[in-house]
């Protein structure tokens, strides 16, 4: 049977999520860049003190969540575009999702341990 696979409704949400998470990451990157110019990377101690700042930890958390969400949408798009096998696609979707959730936990634990 021929089916038209449209109308799942997640397209617009993903499109918006990709923009919002992208902007969050871009702003964070500019903050890190400005901080580096201000000497936040001049030494190991300076870098650790900068990253331990409460506000920066808050932003770092948002960055990590944005990165993983953004990567999920982007990588899933790659699998959807190039893989014809539904089984392989499902497998890689699940592996991507698991990897990203794990990365998020790992990275958050690094910044919140400070």
């Amino acid at each position: 049977m021929q089916r038209l696979v449209v109308g799942a409704g997640y397209g617009l949400k993903d499109w918006l999520a990709q923009r919002v998470t992208g902007v969050v990451m871009a702003v964070f990157a500019l903050i890190i860049f400005a901080a580096a110019l201000g000497g936040a990377m001049s030494s190991r101690e300076a870098w650790q003190a900068f990253m331990a700042n409460g506000f920066i930890r808050f932003l770092s958390f948002l960055f990590i969540v944005s990165l993983c969400w953004h990567a999920w949408v982007g990588v899933r798009d790659i699998w959807m575009d190039y893989l014809n096998s539904a089984a392989l696609r499902l497998f890689l979707h699940v592996m991507t999702l698991l990897a990203l959730v794990g990365y998020a936990g790992w990275a958050i634990q690094i910044i919140w341990r400070l």
Binding site: V23, W47, I111
Partner: protein, 131 residues
């Protein structure tokens, strides 16, 4: 309509397609994103080493980032980040209808390529210890 549907190529010959610059930059957006995703564990590990409080993590960080192969990978990731960043801004601008015209789109794609390569050179030389 059905006649057109029949003649549509089922398998695109990728090596025969000549992309305009904007298409090339767009594919590189995907390539750079995929590269950043695949090497994310390396970046998180480096973050962990850079923020570790023990002497061994400091030594490990110095040893890993001092390795020439790692430097080469980081140089590639640097380009991937800058290209993805610049291209992302281009996409956001086009979303709000800035630079949609063909000539402007071509110029902005060129700008993305040039700026991201220039930034990679500037930060890459720092990474390689040139200054």
């Amino acid at each position: 309509m059905s006649e057109m549907t029949k003649q549509r190529p089922k398998h695109l010959a990728l090596h025969e397609i000549r992309l305009p610059l904007a298409g090339f930059a767009s594919i590189l957006h995907r390539v750079s994103g995929a590269g950043l995703f695949l090497l994310l564990p390396l970046l998180i590990w480096l973050l962990q080493l850079s923020l570790g409080s023990t002497q061994s993590s400091a030594e490990m960080f110095a040893a890993v980032t001092g390795n020439w192969l790692v430097k080469l990978i980081l140089l590639g990731l640097l380009w991937a980040f800058f290209h993805h960043f610049c291209m992302g801004i281009r996409i956001l601008l086009i979303d709000v209808h800035v630079g949609v015209e063909k000539q402007q789109a071509h110029a902005s794609a060129m700008a993305v390529m040039v700026i991201s390569l220039a930034l990679t050179a500037i930060f890459g030389l720092k990474l390689l210890g040139a200054y």
